[in-house]
């Protein structure tokens, strides 16, 4: 029997008015990969913040027993000294600095106040090799991809002599290849005796790496599943997370008659705005009918977002060529306003970055793209605006006390609903949804799928971009497969399968 490395005993953490953690127990044995799963807001991150000392000893109840002794961490440094290192979901790297500088940020090599650069880069290279990166540690962070940045984060943790590594959603911004590589790296570390805790929404990944899975729901531990003593699959985990079996993760869309072609894009080519010779979207043609949900599957960096944004009023890219037809008529959309007027909507993948105004209330965000709808001659009808926000809050079941709540205070799923509300209020005929369910929990995903179905039933055309294959397969009538700026395949719902999609991508890769 392996030795117990960490025990979190009856942890209770209260925030003003909310009990974020209620009597949580977690036991991690040495040398295992322990997964922590639960819906958004279940308390996973809070628990890890308690463990790493972000919430200092005394602000919570219960004990942390690590390596046989009770720990009273006052700050992150305390837990790091013990070898507990957390890698947060949002990468904490300085883009303009080199890998080496980032790796030892706050932990510099050399004498006090004098950095030894040879030692810094020498050691950095050593740790980079351990995570399988061949880059020199003098390369700047901004010049490597997100996947590699995530690996740098791990190397950084190793440099702190981590014994217990906590990874919070490590693959949320990685494509499938990079994700798989990262998970394999975790398994490799496990062989070498490292203990890890992984927090993830992606249950297939959890099943792939975890030895044990602890499910947290509403701030309490529900159960711990041992993956070796019983057969665990995704539906078994979901049952624990939501407290019921989700028999169908994708709601059926029935009785929708496909109408005429609503939008048609032909020979669409887009160049990178800075690197003029780089083609980001290469000769893409697509169409979508009324009432149809078309999926665009592609890995991150395949050019999906760039394609969508370039169609949406040329809001991305340079030298855009190709034709765009809406309702059979050729049209040129020079800016987002013209796109909106042409009944197009683009629901961004990056709701915090360019989707919502987080510091403003739901009301303001709902009306932002269609101020004409709540104003007359440039003067806002506040009552109408309020009523519209309330109407959409009800329609989309957005959970918030009032529409005056700032969007920044909402959970990811509810933020996504506000973003959808904003675009639905522009009354579009064609909606491009870019990763509509990224980073939101299972329950909210289901509700978003229902909204998509309702839109299709109402005769709207929906283009759904996603890198989650089950979602694409479960929701689309037709699937385009995109790889390196090109469309490399088109499949109907009946014939599509994970294998076929991957085969298309692999084939395209070989063709080069």
């Amino acid at each position: 029997m392996a030795k117990e490395l960490l025990r979190m005993d009856h942890i209770t953490k209260t925030f003003p008015g909310v009990k974020a953690l209620d009597n949580v127990n977690l036991t991690v044995e040495e040398g295992e990969i322990h997964a922590l799963v639960g819906e958004n807001g279940a308390g996973k991150s809070t628990l890890m913040n308690v463990l790493s000392g972000i919430y200092p000893y005394g602000t919570y109840e219960g004990d942390i027993i690590y390596n046989g002794e009770v720990c009273k961490f006052q700050k992150i440094k305390d837990s790091e000294e013990k070898g507990i290192v957390i890698i947060h979901q949002e990468l904490a790297l300085v883009p303009q600095m080199s890998i080496g500088e980032n790796m030892f940020l706050g932990n510099e090599r050399g004498k006090k106040n004098a950095i030894n650069w040879n030692e810094t880069y020498g050691e950095a290279d050593k740790y980079l090799k351990m995570v399988g990166l061949s880059e020199s540690s003098r390369v700047l962070i901004k010049d490597i991809g997100t996947g590699k940045q995530q690996l740098v984060e791990i190397a950084k943790a190793l440099a702190k002599h981590a014994k217990l590594l906590i990874l919070d959603e490590p693959t949320s911004s990685l494509n499938e290849t990079d994700s798989r590589a990262l998970l394999d790296l975790m398994l490799e570390f496990k062989k070498q005796g490292m203990t890890m805790i992984i927090i993830s929404h992606k249950l297939n990944e959890v099943v792939y790496v975890a030895d044990k899975i602890t499910v947290i729901r509403d701030g309490s531990t529900v159960e711990t599943l041992d993956c070796h003593s019983m057969e665990i699959d995704e539906s078994r985990i979901i049952r624990g997370m939501v407290g019921r079996e989700l028999t169908n993760r994708f709601p059926k869309r029935e009785g929708v008659k496909l109408g005429d072609i609503n939008m048609e894009v032909a020979n669409w080519t887009v160049y990178h705005p800075l690197y003029a010779e780089r083609k980001v979207v290469d000769n893409v043609s697509l169409n979508v009918r009324k009432g149809e949900v078309v999926g665009i599957y592609g890995l991150m960096g395949a050019g999906r977002t760039e394609l969508a944004m370039s169609i949406f009023g040329k809001s991305y890219g340079a030298d855009i060529t190709g034709t765009l037809k809406i309702n059979g008529k050729e049209i040129e959309l020079k800016d987002p306003r013209e796109a909106i007027d042409a009944k197009l909507a683009y629901v961004t993948e990056d709701r915090k970055g360019n989707g919502l105004v987080l510091s403003n209330p739901i009301r303001v965000n709902t009306s932002l793209a269609n101020m004409k709808g709540v104003s007359e001659k440039g003067i806002i009808d506040k009552d109408k605006e309020y009523a519209v926000a309330v109407e959409y809050q009800g329609k989309l079941k957005t959970k918030a006390p009032t529409v005056e709540q700032n969007v920044g205070n909402l959970s990811g799923g509810n933020q996504q609903k506000v973003l959808l509300a904003k675009w639905m209020f522009t009354d579009p005929d064609i909606l491009i949804l870019d990763e509509p369910t990224r980073g939101i929990d299972v329950g909210a995903k289901y509700e978003i799928y229902c909204i998509i179905n309702d839109l299709a039933k109402a005769g709207k055309s929906v283009i759904m971009i996603s890198s989650e294959m089950p979602e694409i397969l479960g929701m689309s009538d037709r699937i385009y497969i995109m790889n390196e700026g090109k469309f490399v395949g088109e499949l109907n719902a009946e014939e599509a399968s994970q294998e076929k999609i991957m085969a298309n991508i692999l084939q395209a890769g070989k063709g080069e």
Binding site: D335, P336, D341, L358, V364, A369, N409
Partner: protein
Amino acid sequence: MANKNVVAVLKKNAMLIVLVLVFIFFTVTTGGQMFQPMNFNALITQNAYVFVLASGMLMCMLTGGNIDLSCGAFVCFLGAVGSILMMTKGLSPFLSIILMMIVGIIYGCALGYLIAYVNIPPWIATLAGFLAFRGWGTALLSANSSTGSISIAAQKGFLAIFSGKVFSSPVGKLNTVCMIAGVIASVAVVFLSFRARSIKIKKGYAAESMASLLIKCVLSVAAIMLFAYKLALAGGIPTVLIWVVVIVLIYNFITARTTIGRYFYTIGGNKEATRLSGVDTKKIMFLAYLNMAILTVIATYIVTARFQAANSTAGTNYEMDAIAACVVGGVSAYGGAGNVFGMVVGATLIGVINLGMSLMGVDANWQKVVKGVVLLAAVVFDILADKKKS
């Protein structure tokens, strides 16, 4: 629960309460001098330019903490241009006013273009103006006058529009027009407050309680009537008060009720999201600085008329006064938050502190120290209050 409400109300009006306390403090320390009619008058005439410039600065700051460093220097330059037009060239005040406005609009367009369409960081673009216009203005003045200052005391028409009193009466005698204006303003405030509440109730929205509305009305009316009474004794309504009130009301309307005003806020909150929502964000940035220049022109009229002359030190540190008024009034230094009411309170607070310290005979250098501390305290308070909320 009631306690919580009281705390919330106090927090929301913290700066207003500070303003009242500071006013009382100076009234006591100056032996009641602060409460003299003449000083009510001075509070307005001396600070009119702050309200005007801060209205423009507010719009700039909303777009993301952007500021205009050049407005003070531009006041100096434009004052020189105006006085030369009127005195040296002998143009009529009316024509000069229009020409000055045209010069301001040209500058605003140039500045707005550079910032919005060429993407020059606002503080750099306006720093250039800050340096250039002070020099240019001084050069113009010394080329046209041996003393480096041009008096416009002879331009009675110009002075009448931007300084002096409306229906003035001898000091010490109660000015009827002023009192009537006070009554009208009071009635308007009460009427509008009650109407807003009844509309809310009729439509079923959350409305404030009758008690809090009554308290608010009583306090507002008391403040207005006190001001009206004091001004009536000081010879009547200063002309600049009308300018200030009109400008403040216009900008209050723009920021609170118009779509274009809304965009200033959302750009400050998230520029990219606003752009992708079909808003021409560049146009809004352009308008922010064009608007700032237009208000700077109006501030120039007011300042030149008050001093009855253009000189090379005119407008010194005005940009800082405007920024300070906004920041003290709760306008976010990062953009996206703040309103005209807060800005007015902030500007008044700084005005009261200036005036009070002058009356107390505090050394001018120490006055600057105090203002700096107040500014810092206001920002620290703001950020701490925000932190508690989250």
